[in-house]
Symmetry: C2
Subunit: 338 residues, 2 copies
DNA sequence: CTGAAAGCGCTAACAG
DNA sequence: CTGTTAGCGCTTTCAG
């Protein structure tokens, strides 16, 4: 590997001067700088990121914690979070930061997430995880590391969230406007976001003079087709079958559609169906599923912006960003004639 | 940040002894070691990865190049490659390696992929990319960096590939056995893998005494729904409409199903359909799409194993791993009555 | 404008 | 068994 000493030798100056020239310091003679630059290029010089990090206390490296537990879809293959990460990645890379996954193993040692961050000296960390009350996550959250969280709300950490209340309200109102009264919401496991959505659901029913009953709320599991399948059957076998079902997300809605079909019921003639997230899958299924699109691209960008801002200004203050949602009408809902 | 010097001071020994104790060197007194270890824990010591990398010439960091160009699906959100990466990640992390994405920006500088690798001193790189003849990829390939490639075959680099020949042979034979003769293969853009698949397709037809015509091969684009849509319409409007269509992958097959439906044709009654890859989407669509499942989990693991082996043994010799495929019968193919 | 020197945190001989 | 010392490659005062 070529070092600044090698260049210094060739040019006939000191390593300090080489360093300055390479880093665009003003106090280097124009000619010397050019000689240094051209030699650096010719010799195929690349700065050593580790050495730079050691002196500069900046690694240009962001830690990524995308561990979607409690699902069969972990981080990368999670249709929803993968989109967010993709957009986050595009933005941070453009700004010169590299992305590295946080893990529980470093070399031969088992480490906590925070220890991993301390070892690698990540400039910041982005978190998107269902298990937000996990002890190791909390340890990270309470550290002094620049952090941005997606889909959750801690007291002290900046977060990026879709307007979930608006999302479920739009969906519920849409169904009510289609004359549905008996709507069941098979929501995901309880969490900050889930509770907001449930509130929006109940509030909207109430606002429309519909008394919400507990039969209308069923706890499922986000992105878990098996649990959802069971819950769907359960609902369909009721004496008073609902006229519409809202699923926790588009992925399980797509499987719910199958369950409904197997029961010999038609969508939307016999039962209307809606999902959430705005996944491509919702469009691929027949009939196209009505859903609420979360703007994953914007979520990713906002998260990246906020995190880089914290890193570069050292201003850790909590700033929450809310990203708008949009009702996407498919072919899975129909006016209820009752 | 706590350093080994801080520990040395507390314990009353030299930093060298601390280093040895921490790294399990045998030549440290049992008592001293214990004192050091307990102080290290108490003080919340974490080794500095940058400093370690500087002296050890090992970063425990693997570079990831998953840039699926020429598609609307880039790296992470690519249904197929995301699965491979997921599995690769699980294995490498278990072995203590961190994964960092390769990019073209490092800090404030624009860099080539190789330059990026040199800066960060990645121990190795994993590549999965459609644009395998890209100049920057080739530069990497021809360097001395430990590399494993997925879905391509270079002269000097280890690669992991599904048995694509077998895959398309299974599929073609299956359709032939269902009495189909006029089968169209809308394949992906030309590449190492595509050509193998095309050969398998043509060979299998020939072996069954069917003369393959050039009308049976249409070039589409992997994971591109628009191009596929056009090609599908083109095929369906022919005077001699084929009785079966094989799509380049399950994703576009799912969209192809829509196109066929829009033309008022039924699957599989009017036309049989097959995909490739074994994506979950193939199961979610109605009718379930017959496909060839690639074992993404095994591909990821094999890639990880091979790469770590190259890194740790410094044996760069080219070893290719072939991973078996499996025909998955859906409901999208039917015996042709003709 | 240039360079000597100290230091970032850790490891690896080599003495003792 | 322990410590001294010399780096790893780069940055940053501070003299000159």
């Amino acid at each position: 590997m070529v070092t600044i000493y090698d260049i210094a030798k060739k040019v006939g100056c000191s390593s300090a001067t080489v360093s300055k020239a390479l880093n665009n310091y003003p106090d280097v003679n124009h000619k010397t700088r050019n000689r240094i630059l051209s030699f650096a290029k010719e010799m195929g010089y690349s700065p050593n990121a580790q050495a730079q990090a050691l002196t500069k206390k900046k690694t240009w490296n962001i830690g990524v914690l995308f561990e979607v537990e409690a699902t069969n879809k972990t981080g990368l293959t999670h249709y929803f979070f993968a989109q967010i990460l993709e957009s986050f990645k595009a933005y941070t890379e453009e700004k010169g930061y590299d992305l590295t996954f946080l893990s529980k193993k470093a070399g031969n040692d088992n480490v906590s997430f925070l220890q991993h961050v301390r070892r690698r000296h990540f400039d910041g960390v982005i978190i998107a995880n269902f298990d937000y009350e996990n002890e190791e996550i909390l340890e990270l959250i309470h550290s002094n590391v620049p952090i941005v969280v997606i889909d959750y709300n801690y007291d002290t950490v900046s977060s990026i969230l879709s307007d979930n209340y608006e999302g479920l309200k739009l969906l519920t109102q849409y169904l009510i406007d289609l004359n549905h009264r008996d709507i069941v919401y098979i929501h995901g496991q309880h969490s900050y976001v889930t509770d907001i959505r449930i509130n929006a659901f109940v509030d909207t029913l109430t606002e429309n003079g519909i008394a919400a009953t507990k039969e209308q709320l069923l706890e499922g599991l986000y992105y878990d087709k098996d649990v959802t399948y069971q819950k769907t059957l359960e609902v369909l076998q009721r004496a008073n079958r609902p006229t519409a079902i809202i699923f926790s997300d588009d992925y399980v809605a797509a499987w719910g559609v199958r369950a409904i079909g197997k029961m010999g019921l038609r969508i939307p003639e016999d039962v209307s169906v809606a999902g959430f997230d705005g996944l491509e899958i919702a469009e691929m299924i027949t009939p196209r599923i009505t859903t609420v699109r979360q703007n994953t691209e914007l979520i990713g960008i906002q998260a990246a912006k906020r995190l880089i801002d914290i890193i570069e200004t050292k201003n850790h203050s909590k700033i929450d960003v809310h990203v708008g949602v949009e009702l996407v009408k498919g072919k899975s809902c129909k006016k209820h004639e009752g």
